[in-house]
Amino acid sequence: MILDNTILWQFDVLLLPMVIICALAALTIKDLVGAAIVTGAYSFLMCLLWTEMLAVDVAFTEAAVGAGVSTILLLATALHIKRKAKD
């Protein structure tokens, strides 16, 4: 059975729900700056998930791009517009 020899599958079980919660939170938070930051957290958790699945290059890129540059771009836009969203 795969369960026995998977590296750190407990880690995986822990991370996946967190990723999903972050995704839901990013879509539901009404403050856009907050939503942008939660998106950054989502990207970072994704990056951890990929490291754990041994995709080191992809995780590196996501850490630099998803959690770094994308979040800054989202924040820059959120600060330029009205912060409150209707939904």
Binding site: D12, L32, G66, T77
Partner: protein, 131 residues
């Protein structure tokens, strides 16, 4: 019991990816705020990347960098089972780049819309067009 467990373990990564895809798609289509749509887009794309990375994973394998691969002489017997599948990683590097490019363009258009219409709520924009 064991069967159920195997069933869950063999698929739960794909499940998570598919659930995230659906969350992202729902956000892109149904959200009223345009920035939320963009966030949904970002979630959608990362979820597809998760799906691909799940394909590449092999149990009992290591990262896709050949150990002691510097010299040309000692590579004689490389066991493919020791390394995870590198091809989806390559594809997803490209997909991440495409994702950030699309994100940038979408945000630029969004800022422009805000400048022209003064709002980024879809229904308010539609009203302002009608007037």
């Amino acid at each position: 019991m064991d069967n159920v467990l195997t069933y869950i373990v063999s698929g739960y990564n794909y499940w998570a990816a598919l659930i995230l895809i659906m969350i992202g798609m729902y956000g892109m289509i149904a959200k009223n705020n345009l920035l939320k749509k963009v966030i949904g887009m970002s979630i959608f794309q990362s979820a597809i990347i998760l799906f691909y990375i799940s394909i590449s994973y092999k149990s009992n394998a290591s990262i896709p960098i050949i150990a002691h691969g510097h010299g040309v002489a000692d590579h004689t017997a490389i066991d493919p089972n020791l390394y995870v599948n590198p091809l989806p990683h390559v594809l997803m590097l490209t997909a991440i780049v495409v994702g950030v490019a699309t994100l940038g363009v979408a945000l630029a258009v969004l800022q422009k819309i805000y400048r022209v219409h003064g709002t980024i709520e879809e229904d308010e924009i539609l009203e302002s067009i009608k007037e």
